[in-house]
């Protein structure tokens, strides 16, 4: 898999900190895969492994995305601005099951369910960190 243009999934993305950091992020750790860094283009996928799936359970929300393990490379695009960035999976997340049905919209078009978490570097490439979550499409 690579950073290309083949559709993989769509939904909401949030952001999270990982690796060494300040404040509450100081205890975040390097993610389920190890090596996750807030200042790198990294991300978390709900189906990074079977154990990961058991935590995130996106299927409870009707999301049955395919397995993409540590090191998989994807491209995420903001639904409305088309700003995009390539990133590498370094963690498991988000916990999709806790927010079933949640929507994020732009220009009147909404995306449903949390299907991706990005590091601050990756997220800030396609949107403002103060937005908290964004509607996105994912490719590989």
């Amino acid at each position: 898999m690579a950073c290309s243009t083949n559709y993989l999934w769509r939904g909401e993305t949030t952001w999270f900190c990982c690796g060494p950091g300040w404040g509450p992020c100081g205890s975040a750790g390097g993610g389920a895969c190890g090596g996750c860094r807030s200042d790198s283009n990294h991300g978390a996928w709900p189906n990074a492994s079977a154990a990961c799936w058991d935590i995130t359970r996106p299927d409870y929300c009707g999301e049955n995305m395919p397995r993409r393990g540590c090191g998989a490379v994807m491209r995420v695009r903001h639904q409305c601005t088309n700003a995009a960035v390539c990133f590498t999976i370094r963690d498991c997340g988000p916990r999709t099951r806790s927010f079933c049905g949640e929507r994020t919209c732009c220009n009147g078009v909404c995306r449903t369910n949390r299907i991706l978490d990005l590091t601050p570097r990756a997220y800030s490439t396609i949107g403002s960190l103060s937005s908290g979550k964004l509607p996105v499409w994912i490719y590989e």
Binding site: G23, S27, A83, F99, S128
Partner: protein, 200 residues
């Protein structure tokens, strides 16, 4: 009609030329949220390939921020008329203090500094569980740690199961999953609550 101003050129000129630049309002909204609300990218996508900084502010010299990265790296950020700054809400460089944490994106300058496009000060986005609810604070479990969330009247809002954001926090219950967007307070390690998304 003048051609649209390229964000990269604007930031570079701002960092080099200081006060001689045109007003930043030519680029649209100055706060980070509005900068991304426009249907067309208001920021030059090429900025992605340029610069990102993470760390804590060690010194403030005029419009320059010296930042110690969490991986031992060092950065100097130049704040210009075109820089969007967030600290609980859109603000100015005057709100930044030594010891603050930040994330910044911008443009690499020839002298090794970064002309900052956007700076988010002390911003955190934590996936937590509600463990206690008080009048002016909410106790949060974040992994193995406990975080005190400060309720800011007029600022703190929450949405419940995807609903609209509201200042009414009475719907929060202990044990609920919640995503907390807020600003860390270095002085006491608490978090000022800005926007919360409550799950189930």
């Amino acid at each position: 009609m003048n051609p649209p101003i390229d964000r990269r050129s604007f930031l570079t000129a701002a960092a080099v030329g200081g006060a001689t630049i045109v007003g930043a309002s030519a680029l649209g909204g100055l706060d980070p949220a509005s900068a991304f609300a426009d249907p067309t990218p208001s920021l030059d996508p090429a900025i992605d390939t340029a610069a990102f900084a993470e760390g804590r502010v060690t010194q403030i010299k005029g419009s320059a921020l010296e930042v110690a990265g969490s991986h031992g790296d060092q950065h100097v950020l130049q704040i210009t008329n075109g820089t969007s700054i967030w600290k609980v809400h859109p603000t100015s460089i005057n709100a930044i203090e030594v010891g603050d944490g930040l994330y910044a994106r911008g443009v690499d300058m020839p002298d090794g500094t970064i002309a900052a496009d956007a700076v988010w000060v002390n911003i955190v986005n934590l996936h937590c569980t509600v463990s206690g609810i008080g009048r002016d604070r909410i106790q949060l479990a974040h992994g193995q740690n406990s975080v005190v969330g400060n309720v800011l009247p007029g600022t703190t809002t929450a949405s419940y199961l995807g609903g609209a954001q509201t200042s009414d926090l009475s719907g929060m219950k202990i044990g609920q999953a919640v995503q907390v967007l807020g600003a860390w307070r270095p002085a006491d390690d608490s978090v000022d609550l800005v926007t919360m998304w409550v799950g189930h």
